[in-house]
Point group: C2
Chain length 236, copies 2
Amino acid sequence: MPGAKEEDFLPLRDSVYNKLRQAILTGEYPPGERLMEVHLGDKLGVSRTPIREAIRMLELEGLVTMIPRKGAMVSQITEKNMSDVLEVRRALDILCVQLACERITSDGIAELRKARDNFERAVATNDSRRIAQADVEFHNVIIRATGNDRLISLEDSLSLPMYRYRYEYIKDSSGHDNLVKEHRKIVNAIEKRNPEAAASETGEHIDNQRRSIMRQIRLEREEETMNALYGKRTIR
Amino acid sequence: MPGAKEEDFLPLRDSVYNKLRQAILTGEYPPGERLMEVHLGDKLGVSRTPIREAIRMLELEGLVTMIPRKGAMVSQITEKNMSDVLEVRRALDILCVQLACERITSDGIAELRKARDNFERAVATNDSRRIAQADVEFHNVIIRATGNDRLISLEDSLSLPMYRYRYEYIKDSSGHDNLVKEHRKIVNAIEKRNPEAAASETGEHIDNQRRSIMRQIRLEREEETMNALYGKRTIR
DNA sequence: CCGTTCATTTATGTATACAAAGTTCAAGGA
DNA sequence: TCCTTGAACTTTGTATACATAAATGAACGG
């Protein structure tokens, strides 16, 4: 049957999972928001079964917290929590570049250069959304170059909790020049297949990211404290 | 109501999850075994709902593989797969000892010494089961000393796929003296709060483990090949 | 006026029923 | 003999119904 392309029907649970995940990452469902099965089911037009399964998946990724007999809520993002994630990500990102130095193919290097250039073009436009996307893609090239499937999926799930901050982080970065420089240094180190240099550059890259994200969380918390003192804002 | 201790009723899904996990890790359900919902439900005396949820949890941990509209099966353990896991674990174990050097309390050090001594006593008995357990506990002390909850849960899920081999690994280890020595070196480094030494000792420790596990997987695969050539064994 | 208790409500935990997709195997024709 | 076809069966996907625990609030008593 030529030309007949199978439209892939992905199961409802996956569809629901994607929708919920998106809603959480964009902040539509803020931390602490309760996720009630019947309510979500009505809203999305499906029964409780796929909702439950989607929520379980989100729980295992750490985006929602479940309390038995109580229900699910969007995970609170605490400073400690984010700090823990970043600590682990630092080690894994360094592992990624080290492995990439050993294993990247010439095609991979070409792809990496392209991603770097694309990132620099994005920075030139000053469009935060585009910059964030190019940044993700740049890192994905490196991660894929490791050829380690477990590492790839771990990096994926560890970067989730930070997506809410990545956008602001990009804007916050006082001048994007640092980001561009850091990316260049990392590419150079990988091209030369120099794991030590790549590792140290990556460490610095993450440390900068950490500082920015931590500052933001503190700001956010202060704001919350103010709200608590001067009046609770209505929730939807 | 003094003395009245609440017996914790854990939900059926968790109970099922534990049972299935145990069955997979002990090899009762070998890799490739299909996990059918009604069948398991009959066997365990529960409906499909908790079974499904337990299977989803196992899938996210990598112990079972799901194919849409086809069902779940116990994940195949390939050399590549295990190699990927070990590569990640090496990086995280090293992170653990480095953090432990910074953060371990004096109580923690006392606990660590106790775990080390307990391990040595276990080795003296030559009881593989006991040795394996003492080994796990030793590493857990270090992991907990990091105070990083995300790291703790990651280490937990990454060590799962190896449990099937750990037991054999202990037996295989030609003389347990190496293990004892390695543990001692790690404890010494942590006591002196020397992250570099701790990291290098841990790296070596994991590399030894890796060699042993890889050898075993190859042996197992050869055996399978023989079976395939000379006759298929019946599956339950 | 405050605290306790009990009924009501709400949401989750679990079971079951129905729908649809995939697999298997046998029958029929080239 | 081999390939095709289709019907029965198996198994998952989804919806719904029932059971049970927690939270809420009102009524009663001190």
